[in-house]
Amino acid sequence: MSGWTTHDGQAVALPLGDVDTDQIIPARFMSTPRAAGYGGFLFHDLRDGDADFPLDRHAGCSVLVAGPNFGCGSSREAAVYALVDAGIRVVVAESFADIFAGNAVNNGVLPARVAQTGEILEALRDGPLPALIDLTMARLTIGGTGYSFDLPQTWRDKLINGWDDIDLTRAHTAEIETFRNTRRARAPWAWPSTPEPGPNPAIHPQGERP
């Protein structure tokens, strides 16, 4: 994944709160291999039959501005694949669901938490505006007005450098090995027992009989 420091694009408003990942990509599309492209699945059922859907009325926007708690619900990373494949690089919202925000960063998408998102949505009411995002400064400008966004340092570093966590963690392999051995000695119960061999009898789930 390649990193980025600044992004220059058009911002479009999706003035909905609690946008869940089932809306971002309905579950029925998730068996598709990634190579096939997920862009066409983005907001599929919300867009279908709604010619006025913001992303269709204003094609080519790469900055999506939405209501609070964006990306709630299912942990499906496919929601981020759909955004990426449709050309979205930045989502601006007052707040994000935790799992979604992490998934976004892992795919090079900035989840920009901006307290004044309501104001931005208002400014975008009549249509898209130019947007400029600077990760180093943690600032974004939409329609000429500047805002700060909130982003943990590690996430900023990952987006800028396009870092892959597996590579980063590999540097700590020896430390992980030591941790594992200590844990195994101190908490041997944390390793699964080997079930009794033979046919697997249906185990009786607990709970009082009626």
Partner: protein
Amino acid sequence: MSRTMLDKLWSAHEVRRGADGASLLWVDRHLVHEGSHHAFAALDGRGAEVAEPGLTFGVVDHYAPTRGRDTVADPAIRDMIARLEGNAARHGITLFGLRDPRQGIVHVLGPEQGLTLPGLLVTCGDSHTSTHGALGALAFGIGATQVAHVLATQTIWQAKPRAMRIRIDGRLGPAVTAKDVALHWIAKLGTGGAAGHAVEYAGTAVRALSMEGRMTLCNLSIEGGARFGMVTPDQVTFDYVKGRPFAPGVAAFDAAQADWAALASDAGAVFDRDVQIDAADIAPTVTWGTSPDQAAPITATVPSATDPGVRDALDYMGLQPGVPLDGIPVDQVFLGSCTNARIEDLRAAATLLRGRRAKVPGIVSPGSMPVRAQAEAEGLDRVFTEAGLEWVGSGCSMCVGMNGDIVAPGKRCASSTNRNFRGRQGRGARTHLMSPVMVAAAAVTGTLTDARPLLEGRE
């Protein structure tokens, strides 16, 4: 220094801490399912191996057909299952496949098989992984990139959440279940209400819950925005774990239990946020909208459409403000999912259904095949089939509709599941979330209705 259970679980798994405070955590159990195919592809793409195949377990659930399992008709579903089978075999991972008598929904199977234990860190590429916290585990849902990371390193980078305690004290009323407790607090705090927090459920009403009830409560944490839910392990937990196939054997059990008993939050532990709920304030609850926080007691009416969000939700749901919830006709019912398809859930529904006929069609999908076998041993399957409901195999089924079990457009379903999002149960489907006994009541009357009068003389 007094510590919360979150503090104790966190430090027991912290391999190192990064410069900005994120922790590299050791993962004790990693559960994968058909949806993990993106992560295996990422692993293969870099030529990496699974670091700890002995701590990784695969389960067929999301796409599991609930009928006709011998020959899976849909090629796309067959392919998804085959991909997991192939990945598990290639990496030496134990798989609970479609024809395994232990198969079930990952969040039912893990605790049931004794894979989930108090004090463990459990990850799975599914947001309802918070379920496992009911045993006193640190359990959370992760995305595909993180699944690949856990596969490759058996660790995960995670910023520590803030600690939140939800205390529910007092006694739950008749037909008021863990599901109602969850919908109640989520309605109160909102779907993002506990975002950034790990929720510890405490109080006398929580202590009085069975393991099944605690799992339902922790399962729904994510619907209030909390990635983690947990309950202090106690004798109920220890009794539940003991003797399960993958749990510590007799020789190791006492030492394990001593460690688990030390996990409880210290007396003076300080939480970043405390919420207090009186059990007596909770009624049988149903959702009326398209988000789990859009819920109300069954005795309430559909709220007025004061803001555009509510208006859109009511429009989608085909409901008018001011109409009593009790009496709204439903087209079908669904009893299943990782939230509410354990043996206790099936027993509760059967108590109401026994000797009655359902006015609408419905499916009952047990949380696992062992739950199914147990229910059959108790004759519950006959209660459901004699009522006119369909008794099927185990899987995620109509909760997420990925296996083809869907609700038709515009149809209204009384459902024991976790999400009433638009299109969740099928395109245009209208979902009302409620407890299993309330689903049973809806089946019998063909409407949303209060289960309490129907239970009189039955418990």
